[in-house]
Every structure is written in C-alpha cells, then in structure tokens.
Subunit: 389 residues, 2 copies
C-alpha cells in the first residue's frame, strides 16, 4: 500500500482513453481531511506546462483537496488553450467532488506541444470520482495510471516514531525515456501538520533525493512533487520527524526511478567527498554524472578514471576549489586514480553489477555530495530517436 | 598544400612506433624565420596534460622555433614523470635542430593516464629532423601523423589581400571519438607580424570558430591551437587582414572537424538570434547543442521542437532573458514553433540532409550566436563504450 495507507485519503486510477493504447492514463487522489494541507515543488525549467502554471496558483495558499493526474499528454507549449484545458479539468473534478476548483491540483505527462483530448479526460474524471477508494487496489491502479514508459509502478511508505504515516507514488525520470522525462510524485500523510511544516519537510526531502537524480541533465516542463496532509491521524508530528519520514519515502521512490531506467544497463552513484562545500561537491558530482564519455564508458564496463578526472576538471575553480594532484578516484571499491594519476590497475575493477559506485576525493575540505545517474546506452539512443514525440 | 605553403616553414610526419598499429604518429613543424613569432591557446580544462603545461611556458615569450606533435598517447595525468618526458622530447628535438628547448612546443593526443614510449618517440624525432621538407608531401604526412580516429587529414589555407599566406592542419574534436577528443591545430603564416598581433589574431579567430564546435560538452586535457609566423614574406600584414585570414582557415578546419565526426550522422548548426547579448545567444545555443534529447531526436530525423524549447528553458533567466511566448524555432527552414507553441507541421521538415540547421529566435534583442555540434547516435555510444581507453 502507499498513498491511501495514511488515513484520510481515497484514490483511483483507470483508462480514460487519453492514450491510444487503452492503458490506464488518469488518476484522482482526494484528501478527505480534516486538514487540507498541501505543499508542492515544481520544475525549474522556464518552459512550464499549463498544469504546472495552474498548480502553482492552487498550492500558493498551502491548501488542496484533490489531485488529478494524466499520462498520455504533457499539455506543455499549448498556449492559452492548453491552460484553459487544465482549468476545465480542475473545475470539472471540483464539481464532481463538491470542492473549490482552486483546491484541485493538476499534473500531466506525455508529449509536448499537443492539446489533450478533453471529452474522454473529463468523462474519465467523472468515472474516477465514483470509483474512489482506499486500499491496495486503489494505490495500485493510481500508481499504474501515471506510468509512461515505466516498467513497474513505484510506491513507498514510512511511519514516524509517533505513528503518523507517509505514503507515495512516483513515475518517470530522465533515462526512463527522456521524451517523456517528467517526474511526477504524490506524497500523502495523515500527520496533523500546517502548510509551513509540510512545505519545509517537502523541500528538505526533495533537495537530497529527487534533486539528486540526474539522468541526462534535461529538465522536464512538467516535473511536480506534491505532499498532501489530512491530519486524520490526529498526530501532530514535529517538523523533524515528518521531514525524516518524507525523506525516507522520497529516497525510496528516487532510487526506484533510477533502477527502472529502461535505456540503462547501470545505475551510477557518484559520490564526491573532501570538498570545500556541499555545493562544490555536488557541482563536481553533477559534471561527472552528465559526461557522455563517462556514461558511455560505464556502459562498456570500463572504469575510465581519465574521463572522470577530465570531467571534474571542467568545473570552474571558483565553483569547486581543488588541486588536480590531490584527486583520487575509486570505482566499485578499487582506487584506480590517486594523486591525479594512475594507481591500482583498472582490470581489478568489477563493472558487472548493475550498480556502479564512483567515489571522488577532492582533498580540499570536509564537505560531500552525491548524484544518481545512469549509463549511456544503445537503448537510450534508440528510445529517444526511434519514436517521433 | 597547407602548413608549408607559407614561406619559411618545413615539416614532416612519420610512423615512430608510438601507435601499436604502425600508423603515422609523430610530426615536426619548423619555423625557419626570419621571425620566430608564436601564439597559442590551450584547453580550459583544469586537468592539463604535460605538453600543455610545457607549451604554455614556451609560448609565454611569444616565440617558438618548432612544434613536435604525437598521436598514440596524451601524456595526461602522468605526473612529474610525464612532464619530464615532455621536457626530454623538447630538449631532444632542440638539440637536433640546434635551437633552444624553450623554443620547442609539444602537443600530444591519445589515451589519458599512460606514459609515452620515449625511445621510439625520440628516435622518431631524429628521423623526422632529417626528413623535414616543404610541399604537398610534407603537408600531407604531417597532417596524417596527428590523426587519431579522424578518417581524413584536415588542411586549409588562405591568402591576405597583401599576399601573406596562412596555412593550417587540424585533428580531432569531440564526436570524432571522445576518448581521444583532443583538438590539435597548427596554423602557419609568412606574414611579418609580432607576437602581440599574432596572439590577437589567433584569439579572435578561435573565439568564433573552434570555440563554437561543441560535440559533446567534454573539454579535452590536451586541446591546443598554435599560430607560428615566419615573416618570410616580408609582408607586414595588418591585424585586421591577418585576423581575417586566420579566421577563414580556422573556420574551414572547424567545419572539417564537425564533418568528419565518425559517430555522427548529422552535422548540427544551432543559430540563436534576437538575443539581448551574444553571450545570451551562445548560452542558449550551447544548451540546445548539449541536449542529448535534441541530439538523439535529430539522429531519428525528428524535428522535435518541444525538446529544443525545453532545452532553451533550462538556461537561467539572468543568463539569457527572453519570454517563452516569444520563442520561435525553425528547423531546416520550416518554422515548427512560433510564439512558444506548435506552428507549421513537423512533417514538412526534411531531415534527410547530413547538415541540420536549427534557428531559434528569442524575440528579446538584436544579438546572435551559433554553435556547431553533431547528433547522438548508436555509433557514438559504440565508439565510446566498446574500447577500453
């Protein structure tokens, strides 16, 4: 179970006919309260899809009653007409639920630049409202309805020491199929918390989990992570305990996103240590994680430390101070580079596991940071070139 | 003809046994003067190969008598021993030519992290000295000796209005085979100019040519572009006319580098117009040129404007001010996106030519900038994963 495991939530997912395949493509999640606390973080891309523009307004007051999500179309770069479609979607569901449209969040994922088929979408919203429920089936159908090229639905949950529950579902992330790169995440909790607490917990969690998944450096126009709190448990969780539970669920879901990367043959964890600041460590980790040369080498099971050191060298000195002669690189436990030069033989490195651990020591300070990515494979190129999108 | 077409230069290339294949791998270029003017620009990567560290010192006084270049090994991340190897190489050639080692530039390209085989390299330098000459064969063997996975040698030349000649050879660039991504360029001229003029002409030329080729955003540890002036023509070319001739030769060579990208099936020219500044235009062009989603779509002959707009949206507002609703995107002459939304049908775009022209109008100002790149293909992944390096 996941999003309806916390008390106070109902959900459902179903095929509404948005996808030509007839696969599930519409989901509704309702917060029955007593609280209607909501927080959300959105893509930093300046090109923002209509549902992102709408949901930003909705969540501004820290309140929301429901979320409606569709796959099969991103409703991005669709202009005023696209925004009107999102508004109509929210207003339609609001009428069905007898809530205010300004309390209905909307998420979409799919192709950019095309309008959504509104009649089936709105009809599906009506059907979904009648089928809302709680339990394993509700969680399962909801998680499945937001899938694009994900091979498995992604769910997670955690409980705070005081007994409040946090549940979540997720879809997407770069390598899964970057033309549909959108990451959509909905987290629910029955903790009795206000909007400020929910917002602080969500931002702290995403900063160290979803924000550190960088499949191919391409930001989606639709990325959205939502946290809804019903307060139904009556448990006034502290910011600390709620943050930890939200972080745990987010980390679990983020790792599942990386693991389900269809185009990938390796999940790559880049850990940078001994940096002057966390920002410096993350800048170096991100540069390595974004290097096509490093990613292609890993696909070839080649612990190519030269490419890793070269990528680190592309980070400006003012961003990440370090001396090249202090660099060490360890791949899957073997220190192949020390003092900026060759150390143990690369042949000692076992690259066959799906998970590849790259540890870089900058010898410049005490801060650390990590990024998760995937390797660059033929399947990645195939997925992103074979289909028009 | 190319580098020995300007008067005052001799050159030769030969197989010295550095490459296990027995292919040509060592080249020597000598400036017989009367002038020994030299200028050079080097990689911005903080990880700099031994020959780059050495050559920076040599060219600091604006003078050089010779250049020795090898393929088959980058001599990067090789520590003090690697630097000593470079110094020995310069001292050995200097003795053969009876010049000062401080006037001998060294360039290397090949694998990172391995020492060079010095005995065959030094013996080859001795042999090369005896075979130095001018003319088509000298130019041809020299251009071939610096090739790594280039399929053809790259040469170009131009003449200034006053009759001074500029010649040049080049190898490499990202997509050619990024594990050997180094770009090495040597330009020669018989113009009678001082170091300041040569340096100004070279920097102006590289800024709008080699610096605008961005195959895969990965900077090499060895990139070097050198300009030598012999003054043998007695023609005191003005900065303006020398700059134009050096720019013409550089642009010719840069285009040849893109065209020879082995892993690529398209040469992609990204042109951004109506930007507030040239820096803003280049930032947007570079982001588009570096997007794996855009590059993979082009490999699939898909004029995917949604990915292009999404990539543009990833550039921070403070770097490139523009409004998404003002964006237009034209691919191979068809305006597929106008006002940030769909315009003409993508099916109208002919993606079959090797050259793909992406024109983005930001509607924010009057500045423009362009970047050349290649598409992301199976061959690129194969080249960079199949071989250990």
């Amino acid at each position: 179970m996941s999003i309806t495991r916390p008390r106070g939530f109902r959900a459902v997912g179903l095929p509404a006919g948005i996808k030509s395949t007839g696969a599930p493509d519409l989901a509704v999640i309702v917060n029955d309260g007593p609280r209607d606390t909501a927080a959300a973080v959105f893509t930093a891309n300046r090109v923002q899809a209509a549902p992102v523009l709408w949901s930003r307004q909705v969540v501004a007051d820290g309140r929301a009653r429901a979320v409606i999500l569709n796959s099969g179309g991103a409703n991005a770069c669709t202009g005023p007409e696209g925004f009107a479609d999102t508004r109509r979607t929210a207003e339609h569901l609001a009428a069905e639920l007898e809530v205010d449209a300004q309390d209905v969040l909307v998420c979409s994922t799919g192709l950019i630049g095309e309008r959504l088929p509104m009649p089936p979408l709105l009809a599906g919203a009506t059907t979904a409202t009648a089928q809302l429920g709680a339990g394993t089936e509700a969680d399962e159908t909801t998680a499945r309805a937001i899938m694009t090229t994900d091979t498995v639905p992604k769910t997670a949950e955690a409980t705070t020491p005081s007994g409040a529950v946090v549940g979540g579902i997720a879809k997407g992330a770069g390598m899964l199929a970057p033309q549909l790169a959108t990451m959509l995440v909905v987290l629910t909790t029955d903790a009795d918390v206000d909007a400020a607490t929910a917002d602080a917990a969500l931002r702290a969690a995403t900063a160290t989990t979803f924000d550190r998944v960088d499949s191919d450096a391409c930001m989606s126009t639709n990325d959205t992570v939502i946290l809804l709190a019903s307060g139904a448990s009556g448990i006034a969780a502290s910011l600390e305990e709620l943050s930890e539970a939200v972080r745990a669920v987010s980390a679990d879901l983020a790792r599942q996103l990386v693991a389900d990367a269809e185009g990938a043959s390796h999940d790559v964890h880049v850990v940078v240590r001994s940096a002057t600041t966390e920002q410096a460590a993350l800048a170096v980790a991100r540069e390595i994680a974004r290097s096509n040369l490093v990613k292609a080498a890993i696909f070839g099971n080649d612990p190519n430390w030269g490419r890793i050191v070269s990528a680190a060298g592309c980070v400006p000195e003012e961003v990440a101070p370090f001396a090249v002669e202090d660099l060490s690189v360890t791949v899957n436990g073997i220190e192949v580079c020390r003092g900026g030069g060759a150390h143990r033989d690369r042949s000692e490195v076992d690259m066959t596991p799906r998970e590849t651990l790259i540890e870089v020591d900058l010898g410049a300070g005490t801060a650390a940071g990590d990024i998760w990515t995937n390797d660059l494979t033929h399947d990645y190129v195939e997925e992103n070139s074979a289909y028009s999108s």
